[in-house]
Symmetry: C2
Subunit: 404 residues, 2 copies
């Protein structure tokens, strides 16, 4: 494959955050009625002005700058002292040991960790099991590495108390030679959490078929009432086959510092560091210091943050469930909600553009997460509460207006 | 190729900055005499405590944090306002237009820019011309992309007033189908600058053979007395085939913020942004603000910085030229010096380990830059002046001690 063909498959035009580069041209003939005014809301990512970064994070960054060269030039896998602090806290959180010296790497965001993990485990032609729907970059990472995607459906709409992962499909993937399984838990975009039983089944299958599992647990701290969370790394018989990825960009609103971590399988972490050495050298040195605030927030701060998000979730659920033809599963964790819309007279892609032009509402089209989700949109509701609810109402009003 | 074999070729054990992970075990039987005491110096990278970051950089970062979400979540290619400021200054510096909207991307360090540029131009099996010696990651990037390296020798030791690039070899590379040429100017590790005539010849060859040129100009601001610098992008007939890479990590000591830029060919920049979206999303949002200080330093600051480095260079040249059997070309730019050592009774790799153990001096082995440079070592002399000179003298003393 030549380089142009390879990149033609790597489209990012509809990716979250790129709306500023999109042209809205050509949709005028499709428009019905006038604009609906209201505070614009960009649901493509969380609003760090509504939910501020962890208290003290800037002060810790400042101390990092003041400590000078030691903090500017760390090992490629990050400063050992910081890895040691984090290892203890991450082991307690995930209920399994973390080796700070050889079993952990600090990366530029969780995106950096995902890239390194996939590129360190997937060679050309390797089969990779990918959940549909799941985080938009997962498929693209496999495509960039010239792996082959084996899709596994998440039948989230038809079940309760579990994610709905089709475990038969996952086993078929392993049976037909898939050696890597990559998934997010809580799921992005749906916001469902895999049940304890599902995690045990995934662990058993992965062990039986000797597969590597890369699990993106970015939102695993933001759990709503009465939701239990099982850490795969504590359930998998072969810990050298599991890489767990987390970071403080979302719940903790530290995205501006670009920080993530991957921990677990030492062999894979070693390859990830080799690759980081030629991809970006290291996560920004001064920024690494900010990780000292992580899992170390002021008393009660995280509880309050979760409550605030849960209140927004409840209100958005109310708005969507009151709208005829909109189906939505309750988010159990994280700040995503993924309603499916009724049949419209315009395409899903055009509706997303119309929403932006007529209602000042930016959402991410469902096709970024699965080829089967053309009628869904993803909203990151880590936003100003009142603005988010008002924007969701504008969305449902436009659904009515464009209903087929 | 399976993933393990692929990564076995990507060694980083001897890479600059990784000395903390190396074991010095096994060299005791080789040691002669005792340790030579002195302030330890790590020549593997510049010392940002000796040469501080640009004045005002931290204040501009702080303003970035205070501006909140707008700065935390930029386009993947970086904040447009910052690109616009930079485009004007980079166009003036490189003597050719820069398009801020479509012809520039902000990356996590120049390492990030190099990775994206190579991975966006080199597909599996493509031939890439690589200078020997040149920056250690260049070869590894091509290997990671499964390209094929066509080496071109830099015969720097035998010429004056030019870099010594073997232009016949470069033309042979193009003749035999090489479509990408990647090189650093000033050259890392030698510190030589390509002459105006050499740049014109490279531009003419690249145009004639329709090849893409990626030029790493990281050190192009740190030019010593009586050195002229030619910007390839101002000389190449086809600007859509040239990508120029720069960043403020070295001369400006802003490495802790991880910032680089690539500018030029719009098609390639567009592919680089697609790839950045899955590799790290964007350069750290808050950190991008620091670029506002770049090419915008206080009056006289850069002149002073260059003079300070030139004074260290002169003293190190004096130390090395006084030592029998050490050959060294004068660095014309940047903060690297690349002496070749006489025949020793230990291998180059062991001598580097001995230097660290017996003299507290960390250097980078020449083999990181070329398979033909086993007898060379690279020093980054952006260090405390007196400590650097004393450390260079300890190095020459150990050369005497281990002479074959």
């Amino acid at each position: 494959m030549d380089i142009r063909s390879k990149f033609e498959r790597l489209g990012t035009d509809a990716a979250p955050g790129q709306e500023g580069r999109q042209q809205a041209g050509g949709i005028e003939p499709l428009l019905r009625g006038g604009n609906i005014v209201g505070t614009p809301v960009d649901f493509s990512h969380g609003d760090v002005d509504a939910f501020n970064p962890t208290p003290g994070s800037f002060e810790v960054f400042t101390a990092g700058v003041e400590s000078g060269g030691k903090q500017a030039y760390t090992e490629y896998r990050g400063a050992l002292g910081i890895r040691e602090e984090l290892a203890t806290r991450l082991a307690a959180f995930t209920e399994a040991p973390v080796d700070p010296r050889d079993g952990m790497i600090i990366t530029p965001g969780t995106q950096g960790a995902l890239f390194l993990a996939v590129a360190s485990t997937v060679a050309r032609g390797d089969k990779v099991a990918i959940v549909e729907p799941d985080y938009f970059a997962n498929r693209k990472l496999v495509e960039f590495c010239e792996g082959r995607i084996f899709p596994v459906q998440l039948e989230y709409a038809s079940v309760e108390g579990r994610s709905g992962l089709n475990l038969d499909q996952l086993e078929n993937a392993f049976k037909s030679g898939t050696k890597v399984f990559l998934f997010s838990n809580p799921n992005n975009p749906v916001g469902v959490v895999y049940s304890s039983d599902e995690i045990d089944r995934i662990a058993a299958l992965a062990s039986h078929y000797d597969a590597t599992v890369i699990v993106d647990q970015l939102y695993s701290r933001l759990l709503y009432s009465r939701v239990d969370y099982a850490h795969l790394r504590a359930r998998n018989a072969n810990s050298e086959k599991v890489v767990t990825i987390m970071g403080p960009s979302k719940t903790e609103s530290l995205s501006g510092y670009r920080l993530g971590v991957a921990f677990g399988a030492k062999d894979i972490i070693a390859r990830m560091e080799k690759l980081q050495a030629i991809v970006s050298l290291r996560a920004g040195g001064y920024g690494q210091a900010v990780l000292r605030t992580w899992f170390n927030e002021p008393e009660g701060w995280m509880t309050r943050r979760i409550q605030d998000h849960e209140a927004i979730r409840d209100d958005l659920l109310g708005v969507f469930r009151a709208a005829p033809g909109i189906d939505v599963r309750m988010s159990e964790a994280g700040s995503y909600i993924f309603p499916s819309l009724p049949r419209l007279s315009v395409s899903g892609a055009d509706f997303v553009r119309i929403l932006r032009v007529q209602a000042g509402v930016i959402v991410t089209p469902g096709t970024e997460f699965s080829p089967h989700c053309e009628n869904c949109v993803r909203l990151n509701f880590s936003q100003d509460h009142a603005s988010a609810v008002a924007a969701a109402k504008r969305l449902t009003a436009l659904v009515e207006r464009y209903r087929a």
